[in-house]
Symmetry: D2
Subunit: 360 residues, 4 copies
């Protein structure tokens, strides 16, 4: 259903921007995984607002609380619930939005769907919803690391017209976290920072691209037909707020190669298994992992909330002009990095468990 994701590693989320709390139930995590609130807090802190000048200044501690499913520091195998209380809810700042639809937000579509909407900070459509994803992703990260050695990493590879050409296999977490932009190329990071600050001054906003990667993924994860692992990754990523595009491997650029240049030849691997010489497939063939690194990209549109005036209509159908108040990110890309990682982790954990069930 709408607030659940995954078949075996199954997460169900709840929470609005200005409701009492945001949280998640992780059902299906195997028992006896050592996990603490600190393991989850680490990823939440990367998602948290107020980390740097680049992102929204809403001041939320975003402290995670475990509500169930962990006993003596280990998962019990039963439903694991985690919650973050909302604190800095300046709801009054949203009063002017009660009777108007913000362009390119979910205001109008929620109204059309439900005939009611929580106008405070976007309600359920707020990016605060991603706390649930990142918290669940942190559990998946621990599981995949401990049980299978799988690692997931993402970074900002483009902001507006500034893009990098870094070799994905060379990027490390340290490189990503070295700069508030989460761009592993320091020179590009500086230019991105300048562009984002300029956009803020202009009452404008910027979009960009996050590249993600998974390493040490065993061959054979994923399913035929509908539940291909790249299809699940696509859904996972496009379900993120502001995501407008998804690529696996060569993506759209690959359409300009020919078959001869695009196919990934095999050579005998040192372990006796086939090894792919190139990786245009992005680590996935026929919907299943090949043993190569998974590499993909997610496009995020420029933040819809901008301080400049825009044309819109009121809930009464009158023309009006709106300029955003309240706190917001002029560029979501740096904070999108842990969200993209979380979604990749959830997909991988789910398919890793699914493969365990039928593994020869």
């Amino acid at each position: 259903m709408t607030s659940s994701f995954g078949q075996l590693f199954r997460v169900t989320s709840f929470g609005e921007s200005h409701g009492p709390a945001v949280g998640v139930i992780v059902d299906g995590c195997p028992p006896r995984l050592e996990i603490s609130e600190a393991d989850v807090q680490r990823d939440l802190d990367r998602r948290r607002p107020g980390q740097s000048r680049l992102v929204t200044q809403r001041d939320e501690g975003d402290r995670i609380e475990f509500l169930s499913g962990v006993f003596d520091g280990q998962t019990t195998g039963t439903a694991m619930a985690m919650m973050v209380r909302n604190k800095d809810q300046n709801s009054g700042a949203y009063d002017h939005l009660k009777n108007v639809y913000r362009p390119s937000h979910a205001d109008w579509t929620y109204e059309a769907k439900y005939g009611i909407r929580d106008h405070r900070g976007g309600g359920r459509a707020s990016a605060r919803e991603t706390i649930a994803r990142v918290a669940a992703g942190a559990v998946a990260r621990k599981l995949l690391h401990e049980a299978a050695g799988i690692e997931v990493l993402a970074w900002v590879s483009q902001v507006h017209d500034i893009s990098i050409e870094t070799d994905p296999t060379q990027v490390t977490l340290e490189m990503v976290e070295a700069d508030p932009t989460r761009c592993p190329d320091p020179a590009a990071a500086n230019r991105m920072t300048a562009a984002i600050e300029q956009a803020r001054c202009n009452g404008d906003s910027l979009g960009g691209v996050v590249t993600f990667m998974a390493r040490n993924v065993p061959a054979g994860l994923g399913e035929p037909v509908f539940d291909k692992i790249d299809a699940d990754l696509a859904k996972a990523m496009i379900s993120l707020p502001a995501a407008k595009g998804f690529e696996i491997g060569s993506g759209f650029a690959g359409t300009r190669l020919t078959g001869l240049g695009h196919n990934d030849p095999f050579e005998p691997g040192s372990d006796g298994r086939p090894r792919l010489v190139t990786n245009n497939s992005g680590g996935i063939q026929g919907g299943m992992t090949s043993g190569s690194d998974i590499v993909g990209r997610v496009a995020f549109k420029p933040t819809a909330t901008i301080a400049s005036e825009q044309q819109t209509v009121t809930t009464e159908g009158e023309s009006t002009v709106l300029a955003a108040k309240g706190r917001h990110d002029p560029c979501v890309l740096p904070r999108a990095v842990p969200m993209v990682e979380a979604m990749a982790l959830l997909v991988l954990a789910d398919h890793w468990l699914r493969q365990r069930a039928i593994a020869p």
Copy 2:
């Protein structure tokens, strides 16, 4: 599960390239929809091999047979099964593939996953699997047309480096079907044809992009958080064979706009509801339809099967060289058009039913 798709309009597919049959169960279609085998055959004929020189010459009538769920020409509301017998199974043509992994196919990954694979024509990974999708999509098409006036159309908008700039709102089915390439721009279609024929002569293959569109979609279809309608479209499309990229609305190009240029202003609509002045959102905001047309794009890689020699390994781990025999498409794009339409139709039918359940 892996062979099922959708929550309420739910399809479950079966069938391998060289097994006895390919088919699908559609569960959840509302009762009393008038439907005949001819309604389904029409779309299957667009997907069928052997339609033109541009596509594989495998000669399959692909005649659909209804097995259940239809009585006196109407759906009964119970599970609707449909099947196509495989006929022209030149399985011997695949004997040379029993002990070798074709580059950028699913041969190696199926072996890694299952420890067994049906090597004949790709088995379950064959594009013949899409018969099930297209047949089910034809039922969804009839339902959405009759019950809601929703129409879905797709076309080839790029082959290799030849792309068109047609205004999506102006494209008609007649324009698409006028040329075997299914490109609605006749001049571009001619150049695409030449490029595809040249690729075949070279023992090579081409990829490209299919653009899809849905018209007359009511506002409010789609769900918050994970089951956003664009997220489900992304999964649907990336689950198609050879798909490597997905965009909704402005997609990757939108990352080079700023918020001011990307946001879609509202104006009062003639029906008293808000109307979007532009459509960078591609008809979807916050994961729900806005009432504007849905517009998206799907990237397909160049066909993996090529007649030229390629480096690979045998199932015994020895280096070898392989050149494809058998019939294959030098460019899947023309036949991908009905597949993309089918997947869009399945997603829309599912969300349309989901919205009926809770509609205010």
Copy 3:
């Protein structure tokens, strides 16, 4: 998955007896239903321990807190989370159970499944888990009442060898709540009370039967084949702690009738629709509601926790003898009533929404 129930009205629960909290996410409730914490508290108070001498004296206020999904006193259509903090956790009372398996509890089976168990108060297997069911059921109750006039009622119809022959159609909520046993027959209720108190004195426990009923149910709810509404009711009821049997309509007794006596004749109803003269079917035929009242019965075994000594083994595999300490119910029947109602309500809400999606 394991902690979720329902397709469209979907609940996902969490919480252990001695963890921080027990709660539930209700996803799929239609928007604009007026609901308050008091609506939920009313049912929780009926489930709560410490209501009378007949049930466990654990002192829990069991105050419900809404965490999301309600805005200005109405459901928003998005995920609704509710939580109860655990308070009176006398965990030390369970230390003696850390290394021993209680007979006919879930201690050994959890250990066998997970290799770890939260021994405090039964952990996830505790009946405190049913707080989540009852809270979600209260939302379903409000929805079904407001939107469709459907009412669900249950009562104790048997304790040990004391059973009643009340006509189900005559039972009212007032009759049920008039006595702590929740048996609507006052004379039988007195005898049941005496029997339960005697069992407690004996260090023993009693089982019995809860009868449930749903009124004003429209014809046509339920699905063919696997998701028959009686099948979903059966799963719902047998998933309750201590449930060992389920009957719909005539149940096991019906096997002693012949077809002539068992079939329910039709007569013309006052509304022009067929009316059933008798109701051996229990309101369901072919898995769908007939328009008659739904009537069924659930068997609960005698409480497994008893103060008398019992033979068992330690986690080290040694024979030992165990007598329960801590608080427990000598008879779960009175508190099972709101649980049974909740499960019936969840099934009905789900099928009511499912029918809305496809209704002619």
Copy 4:
């Protein structure tokens, strides 16, 4: 959804009594299981009509055909489709039912739900639908036998007022199949046969009880809360045509014991694990298998189709009188045995796979 059952071992069925075919897709069966059409035919032949005078004389060969998912005599791990063509469709025999609702059938409820019904032989509500269950169950049987040594057996333990007291642990397949009644007690079988024949002569019908059992089930299968294995068994059984009651272990009779008599003491087992001295739990505690045999019972009402005249109404709302023509079983019990086995097998296969995914 309605025509699907199971999470990992997932079956989806189709087919009406007088449509072209009845069949099933089994998705999620592990790869490399040796399986042939003969393995499935064996169970179908036990379900088939016309086996003896006791059951309907409809003459269907019910030959199974594999359509996908098996290659070189082994499952491939992909969707396995199986189909039986309907042959002896004497549809004309049902013309008189087009405008009348048969008492205690699904005629009226299907009409109420869908506004359309296939009146020929019950359409989707026909017991021919169980071909799909039995075929899928045969695959589950092979899997559980080969991979885990689990065996499932059912038998008729009661017809009308004739019941047996056989020790379940002593019943063998040979004993069950020795008599057309599938009652393992020869004396009772004779009396049941006489009673069934008498009912036929009377234009009447009989009901009864099937007992089922699973042996060699490892401890720890099943899930907490909603997907308890007994809850899934309850749903599975009550979803069978004509089923009205379900019991696990002591069932309703257990409500007349006290806790002291009902609890199953543990003693040290020869393998160092706890062993249950008694089995009132029916092999399941807290929703998970204990390692003891699973034992349960299913009540089937007397066949609704009887040759005697009954009061009913027409589709126009007029009173009328109806006596069944066509072929039918005066007692479904003997044929229900393989159906009950199939449902138990499907539940066990599903939970066995689910446990593999998370097993410590």
